[in-house]
Each structure stands twice: as C-alpha cells, then as structure tokens.
Amino acid sequence: MEQNLEQFARTVRNDVMDMLFAAQSGHPGGSLSCVEILTALYNGVMRIDPKNPHWGERDRFVLSKGHACPTLYAVLAEKGYFPKEELKNLRQLHSMLQGHPDMNKCPGVDASTGSLGQGMSMGLGFALAGKRPGNDFRVFVVTGDGESQEGIIWEAAMAAAHYKLDNLTVLLDHNGLQIDGSNDQVMSLGDIVAKYKAFGWETVVVDGHDIAAITAAASAPNTSGKPRFICCNTVKGKGVSFMENQVGWHGKPINQEQYEAAKRELEV
C-alpha cells in the first residue's frame, strides 16, 4: 500500500511536469511541494466517491493555495474524476482545467480558489455546513505559508475555533518560500504552529513528504471540539533537484532541456 502511494505520488509529479511543460506557464515549486499531502488525503483520509463528485455527504477538499492546482488536477484524474487526457489542456481556452481551480468547470473541485486566503474561509463555511443538522462531513483545506500572511486566514482561524469546528483540518504546505523570497525575507510567519495553537487549534507537525505520517495525522479522530492544524514541513520543488528550494521556480515556464532533466529524475 505504502509503496503504491509512493508510486501514486511519482505519477502525480510526472503529470505535473507534463502539464506545466505543455502549458508553458503555471507554478512548479508549490505544486511539487504538496504532492504527498494531496496523495495522502485522496487515498484513504477523505470519504469521497470519484464517480459521484457532488455526493452530498462527501468530505470537502479546498486547495486554498489554488496556484498549486496542477497537483490537484493530476490527483483528480488519477482518481478517475475525469479522463487523464484532459491534463494536456491545462490553462487553455475553454478548458475545465483553469489556471486556478474552478468548481463549476472541473469535476471534483469543491471550491474555486486562487485568490489567496479565501479558500480558508470557504472551507470554514463548508465546515459550518458539515455541523448542521442532517450533515456529517469533514473538511480538509491546504494552505500555503506565503498565503498565511493574508488577514482573512486569521479571521477564519478565529471563527473556526469559536464555532468548535473539529470537522475542519487545515494542512499547511510549509515550504518556506514565496514569490519574492523566503518567508523570513518577505514577511516572517514567526512560530506559525504556536500562532494556530494560540487561536485555539489542535496542532500537529509532520514531515510533509511522509505520506504515512500525513495520513496518520489527518485520519486521527478529532472530537476535541477544536479545529486541527497540521503543519506539513515541505520542500518547494520537491522531487526535481534543480527546482528544490529555489525561489525562482515559483512560477516559471519549463524549457525543453529542463523538462527532459526533470522527467529523467522522476522516472527512476
């Protein structure tokens, strides 16, 4: 099983490279850093039915750092929400695979995101709905660390604790980098785990590339009355050596030579 998921993650990375090379635009670094997080969530953590994407009782997923959508699209295609051949249409006119996720165009996308911070609040709304009479679903939101500089993140963090939303899990893809530099160069997050704790959240720290660890943290039952924050320590550009920890690979087109080098590494 574990080995299968490693393979799943490798397939996703390959798909992400294919999509971004074909599109000649998009965001490689932050897509590669969250591959294991999404691999874990879609393979055993979340209650989903790819054949019935609008199933009312499904767990909801929000990619609040919407620019990492190539990873989401690759995962959704791999799970059977839509045919894999769609992946080549990323960012093309009339494509269901918009540059940032569109819930009304792409099956399996629960929330349209891309404007940073808003996905967190949409996830909060889902979680409030999940607690309403007759509903019983959980909500998983993946945020970015640069994104955590948005004020709305903390408005939502406060509200989630206030409403005791223990059906809400936020997973931070903590790769440490953003467009203009490292988090610390641009706007320090300080001790982000302590911040969530102070906001009234249950907090966990995991290796964000350890599928088993993410699965364990995200699957653990939560009846604490507190929302859960999982700080996933990750490497931006993970899996492609020349992209790893490189600020410049946030959003840069991949040329033929780079594409071939990346594919050689990923096919091992």
């Binding site: 009312g56 569109d102 819930m103 009304n104 629960d110 929330a111 349209s112 891309g114 404007s115 911070g117 808003q118 967190m120 609040s121 949409m122 996830g123 909060l124 709304g125 889902f126 979680a127 409030l128 709905a129 999940g130 309403r132 509903n135 004020g151 709305i152 408005e155 939502a156 406060m158 509200a159 206030h162 409403y163």
Partner: protein
C-alpha cells in the same frame, strides 16, 4: 404617503418571515445584527444564524461555502463593508462561483447621517453591478423590501440588496407588482420621465406633484432592479422626450450610469440629467441637511426635470 418606515426594518422582518417558511435559509452578520436588523432572524432562529465578528471578508467567503452546501445565505453588514471592504470576496467567493448568497447591506448613502463619510457608501451599486452573475436590488420602500427579499430567495444565485437606516415614505402598496428586472411605473406622464431607485422614489413622486402643479405630466419609474436593468422601461421613459434619474448614490456608476448606457446605445438623443451625489464623499449631519447639501431632494429633482425640459 403618510406612513414612514426604514427599509432595514422591513428587511429584518421579511428575513424572519422567510426563515419561517424556508428551513434552508441561513443568516450571517459581522457584529452589526442590531443595525442591519438580521437580529430579528437571529433571535427567532439562533441555530440558523452565524456571527462572524468584525470580519466581513471571512463572512462573505464562508457564506459562499455554506451556500455551496445547499443553503440560501443572507450575509449582512453595512454597504461600505459588504460592497467595499469585502468586494473581492463577493467577487471571487460569491459571484465567480455563482453561490446562492444574498449580500444585504444597510447604511448606504448619506441617509445614514451622523456616522459620516467613512460609513456612507456612495459607490456600492456601482461596484456590485459590474460583477457577472450579480443581481442588484434597491427597493423603494418598506413594502417593496419585503417582496424583494422573497424574490431574492426564490432564485439560486448572488444578489445584492441595499437597505436604508432612515425611516422613509412608503410609496408602493401590497398590490404593486414586484418582479426582478421589471420596473414599476408608479405614475404615468407624457412630458418627461424620472427613473429613480431606493429612497429617491418617494422624492421623485413629490417632484411629479410639484411639476403637475405647473401643468407638466411626468412619468415616475421605480427602478428597483439596477441589474438586470429593465431596458424597455428606459426606452419607454425616453419616449417622453426627457429623462432624469435620481439615486442616493454617486452619479458615477450607479442607476444614472446604467440608464445613460441604455440611452446612449439606443441613440434616442433625449435630454438627460442624473440627480445624485456629484463625485464627493459624504459627511456627518442630519439626513435632511445632508440631502440638501448633496442635492438629493424632491426640489433638486424638480429643477433637473425643468432643465431637461428646456432642452427638449
């Protein structure tokens, strides 16, 4: 038109009535429930009400999340915060996703009085009508407000509803029809037409009385829906040969602009004037004094009609 009531109170009462007949209706507020009057709903249905604290951006995007799970969500705050501060959440979380959220905003325009220019939204209609998927309603009085709330709940999609704090004249009746996108002619006339929305509708009717005393026949159109605009009603107004718009809002981007767009594209060439706020911010003062200062009176409308008639 003896009776006065604020549209925000009518809104609050209508929302409570709606809550009784539709269990899927939820209400959200950002610590202004006793000003927007969502408190009437909150007191009756506390389990269907969410207070987000003073965090409008979070409220709008969370309202979209709630709506996407099958609820009809009324998100309440002041116009300056709903249309202004949280504009991008209304755009991306609500309109871009076509979420079933009704953004209901009170304290728009100088009629909210003493709070001053920081709180008097004069650009909310303009901002909201630029958004794809958005319907924009500005009911004329308390009676029309109740119909607007029920009509907004009937369709699945975003809607902006503008409510007011000041008790104003009731100028429609229970029998006056209300259909989104279909203007109401409250008075027929042949010399000129006044197209008004919100609390300027009763002012327009007063202006029509004054003009009638001068022997002039003026048509009054209650344009309660700014978007989708009733273009046929605008063209019918133009058929009188002179048109004036009246709104408690900037003349840039609101009802006046919307009507001007239709008039210009129909190439009817009628004399036209916009009564509204002339590219200024508001300020503190009693509502009546502010209406004088900003030219939002029946007298200002009357004068505008006389000016366009002179150009006919």
């Amino acid at each position: 038109m003896a009776e006065k009531q604020s549209t925000r109170i009518a809104y609050g009462e209508a929302l409570k009535k709606l809550g009784a007949v539709d269990q899927k209706v939820l209400a959200c507020d950002a610590d202004l429930a006793h000003a927007t009057m969502s408190a009437y709903f909150a007191d009756e249905y506390p389990d269907r009400f969410y207070n987000f604290g003073i965090a409008e951006a979070d409220m709008m995007a969370a309202s979209a999340g709630l709506a996407q799970c099958g609820y009809t969500v009324f998100a309440n705050t002041f116009a300056i915060f709903g249309a202004g501060r949280a504009f991008e959440q209304v755009r991306n979380a609500i309109c871009y996703t076509n979420a079933n959220v009704k953004v209901a905003c009170s304290h728009a325009g100088p009629s909210c009085g003493e709070d001053g220019g920081s709180h008097q939204a004069v650009e909310d209609i303009s901002l909201m009508r630029t958004l794809p998927n958005m319907t924009v309603l500005v009911p004329a009085d308390a009676v029309e407000m109740e119909k607007a709330v029920f009509a907004a709940a009937k369709f699945n999609g975003p809607c902006y509803i503008r409510t007011g704090r000041l008790p104003t004249d009731i100028c429609t009746t229970a029998e006056t029809p209300f259909e989104i996108g279909k203007a109401n002619v409250l008075r027929e006339g042949t010399d000129a037409a006044i197209i008004a929305c919100g609390i300027m509708v009763p002012q327009a009717l007063l202006a029509a009385e004054a003009l009638a005393a001068k022997g002039l026949s003026v048509k009054i159109i209650d344009m309660h829906t700014i978007k989708p605009l009733d273009e046929e009603a605008v063209k019918a107004a133009a058929a009188t040969g002179a048109v004036v718009t009246a709104e408690e809002h900037s003349i840039i981007g609101g009802l006046g602009s919307a009507v001007a767009e239709v008039l210009a594209e129909s190439a009817c060439g009628v004399p036209f004037e916009r009564v509204g706020i002339k590219d200024r911010f508001g300020q503190s003062g009693k509502p009546a004094a502010l209406f004088e200062e900003y030219g939002l009176t029946d007298k200002a409308i009357t004068e505008a009609v006389l000016r366009v008639l002179a150009k006919k």
